[in-house]
């Protein structure tokens, strides 16, 4: 187990090194930052001065080394546009994104597994058939259309929920949360549902397929032959055996949630890192783009590591050599 985790950590470091090299190369290939920072009428001297301040005249390797050293200390430089430290900007925006992702992950995992188990067990009931047909919509409609549709229905037509923004934010120990107020809840519902819908249907279909597979297996038949109750068979035996592939997909998809949150945050004007990234792209704000890239990669790597460790918890067969 120790060997395994060490092995995975080494792989993770390699991935992070490659990603940081790519994000560093953004500085050199995506436009001239000086042009974006100074106005049209800046003098030649002013430009040279800024170039020197930013260290853009140093050799590439020196710049890369400096970049890596700073990144390792959590310093991603100043935003070209807002002139504030990027790390501080990300930290300010991060709670909004994480809360949104968290809420939609809970919706996707919980409803996805429950409906997946149901449709897997009651394969031929008409309720299952309806669920499966509706789930096709979740897979096939793009996120922004679902978002706009939900806004039209609940915010414009029914006027039950706010259409955009993040309301009711209060600060608890340095973390700005919107999950502790009614307004905050009202404003997170629509974006969270929008973001979760695709993942929910993926999980639903996967759990259903795995359930169908597991229910055919010999140990389920043997469990029935021992007279166990249906509930024990379905949840005690079958569900847990579906979990290994499901965990893999959920892990990958939580990374996907963060990536997709760019679109959802734009549709709902949700003040998270995704929205910040889109704005940064508009202004060619390279430090923010680079930092966002590294940040997303880090999330993926960490989630994958957690997934690998979860395998050990769920499946005793992988715990070779243990106990």
């Amino acid at each position: 187990m120790f060997y395994f985790i060490l092995n995975r950590l080494a792989q993770a470091l390699l991935v992070m090194a490659v990603v940081s090299a790519i994000s560093f190369s953004l500085f050199n290939f995506v436009g001239d930052p000086v042009n974006n920072m100074v106005g049209q009428d800046a003098t030649r001297e002013q430009r040279i001065e800024i170039r020197q301040q930013l260290g853009l005249d140093d050799p590439i390797l020196v710049q890369y080394q400096r970049f890596m050293l700073n990144v390792a200390q959590g310093d991603f430089g100043l935003s070209y546009r807002i002139k504030q430290p990027v790390s501080q900007l990300i930290l300010e925006r991060l709670p909004a994104t994480l809360e949104l992702v968290f809420a939609s992950a809970i919706i996707a995992v919980f409803i996805g597994i429950v409906l997946g188990v149901f449709t897997g067990i009651r394969r031929y009931s008409w309720v299952s058939k309806i669920i499966m047909s509706v789930s096709l919509i979740g897979v096939s409609l793009p996120t922004f259309i679902i978002g706009i549709g939900l806004i039209y229905l609940f915010a414009v037509y029914l006027r039950w929920l706010p259409s955009s923004g993040r309301a009711g934010v209060i600060e608890v120990g340095g973390w700005k949360t919107s999950l502790l107020t009614v307004d905050g809840w009202r404003s997170i519902i629509l974006p969270a549902i929008t973001l979760s819908l695709f993942q929910l249907t993926m999980i639903l279909r996967l759990v259903r397929a795995e359930m169908l597979e597991v229910m055919r297996s010999d140990y389920i038949k043997f469990a029935r032959a021992r007279g166990l109750a249906n509930r024990a068979i379905h949840f005690g035996h079958a569900l847990r055996n579906t979990l290994v592939p499901v965990i893999t997909i959920i892990g990958l998809n939580i990374g996907g949630l963060i990536a997709y949150s760019v679109i959802t945050e734009t549709v709902f004007q949700w003040p998270g890192t995704g929205l910040m990234f889109i704005q940064a792209v508009d202004f060619v704000d390279v430090p923010i783009m680079a930092a966002y890239l590294i940040f997303v990669a880090l999330l993926f790597v960490v989630i994958n590591l957690i997934v690998d460790i979860l395998y050990f918890v769920v499946d005793p067969r992988i715990r070779r050599g243990g106990s």
């Binding site: 007279g227 055996n241 005793p316």
Partner: protein, 567 residues
Amino acid sequence: MSNLLEINNLSVDFPSRRGQVAAVNKVSIEVAKGEVLGLVGESGAGKSTVGNSIINLLEPPGYISGGEIIFDGARIDQLSNEEMRKIRGAKIGTIFQDPQTSLNPLMTIGKQLSETLIETLKISGSSAREKAIELLDSVGIPEPEARLDAYPHQFSGGMRQRVVIALALAGDPDLIIADEPTTALDVSIQKQILDLIKSLCKQRNLGVIIVTHDIGVIAEIADRVAVMYNGQLVEQGKVTQVLQKPKHEYTKSLISAVPSGDQKLHRFTVVDYIDGSGEKVTLENVSDHWLSKNKSSETHNTAVSVKNLSIEFSIRQALFRKNRISLKAVDDVSIEIQTGESFGLVGESGSGKSTLARLIAGLYTPKSGDINIFGHNVLQKTQKTKTSLIRRKMQMIFQDPYSSLNSRMTVEDIISEPIRFHRSTENSSETSEVVRDLISFVGMPTTSLKKYPHEFSGGQRQRISIARALASRPEILICDEPTSALDVSVQANILNLLKDLQEELSLTMLFISHDLPVIRQMCDRVAVMQNGKICEISQTDELFDNPEHEYSKHLLGLMPRMDLFRL
């Protein structure tokens, strides 16, 4: 005598698109307490369906279309699901074939036992634990208390089947249905498990139904036997009577198809009662045929020579070398196979016999040692082209005919692939001619070429595998348990086919099996393997009459009791 279970005129139907299929047709059997009834038949005979319909666990869409099942004086075939559930486990216990798959891999066996005990006996968690220890002890699992927290994969196959038996006994049932309880196990373990079932039956005064395709198992354990063929009961009676004086033609042929370990016969007795046992077409002038045109110009007396061959598999990886554990699957093995000889390799599962075959076939790379084929060292990296030419002379036939054929290719494509790959014909019309010859050579109609593997039975698929192997024009054929997935009657056909092919094409054969009678019939010389090492190599008759090594004696002692039905 009042019977524990009585089945009268039971019929089970499976509706399909082509109308009703009667899997079981008016079968009547009964079982008394303390009695073992053997239900024997080949695959598709409907014997497992009888077992499943007793506990109402028929695979949908199958249903009971007629007859009655009376258990302990009451009809149980019309109970609701919930009422039936209370009988399962508590009154009727079931043991399934494969202990690898019948236990939940993610749950400790202690938990699976207590769960069943709590459900069937309505007892508390702590007393369930005590009872679980007691049960494990009674089925012969050492240190039961410590083993409770182990997962199924931490047990060997035989131990796992003991756990399954403990689970089946948990609800203190009166009747046990054992569906092929030893088919997935080694012979030595098979005997232990059968003895265990037998003694539990006498101790607890249980009724036992053993469903099996293996006459040897019946001879070993059953008091009475019922023979099924094609959904119908053809004969039933006391074991000694049925096995020694079978009345029905089918029973007779079934018994005669069991290979004998006592003496060597020229051919296996063929069962003509079986559908689809196609006759092999003998090619005229085989020596002029395409199949024989690739013989080596140089002749070697030794086809395969293996010296000090070893291979290890890592079973635990670790950062530090001292913590790593590896298993020596083949350990310093040396054998020589003469050209034209049929060489047997026998041993229990895990003895390394399949690994050795795969090493010779070049599917694994050994850690050390030498392999010479027709005098050419195939492990030398410098002569790659020569090596691949030599390798082509060697083909393998695998155990499982279901997974060894690509299900998305037609039979024609499967057989012609090696021909096209090696470009061993002039043009495509010659290829298709050769493929037609090959398929009739192995006893299948040429109409089967356009079909896909799933349309064939296990025996027919194995014939296709053989045709595919022949398509490379091999001189050495490696057969890895080629018939252990097949019924006895089909087995006889396939083995006869292999014998004929060997004679007609003068092939060298490496034949791997755990089945001693089969080895006796097929091989000139035999090597006995245990734990990766060769114990003994001798002439086949020598081995069977005077085994030298202790382990060979042990293996021979486990052969099914033929005396019962060969007077």
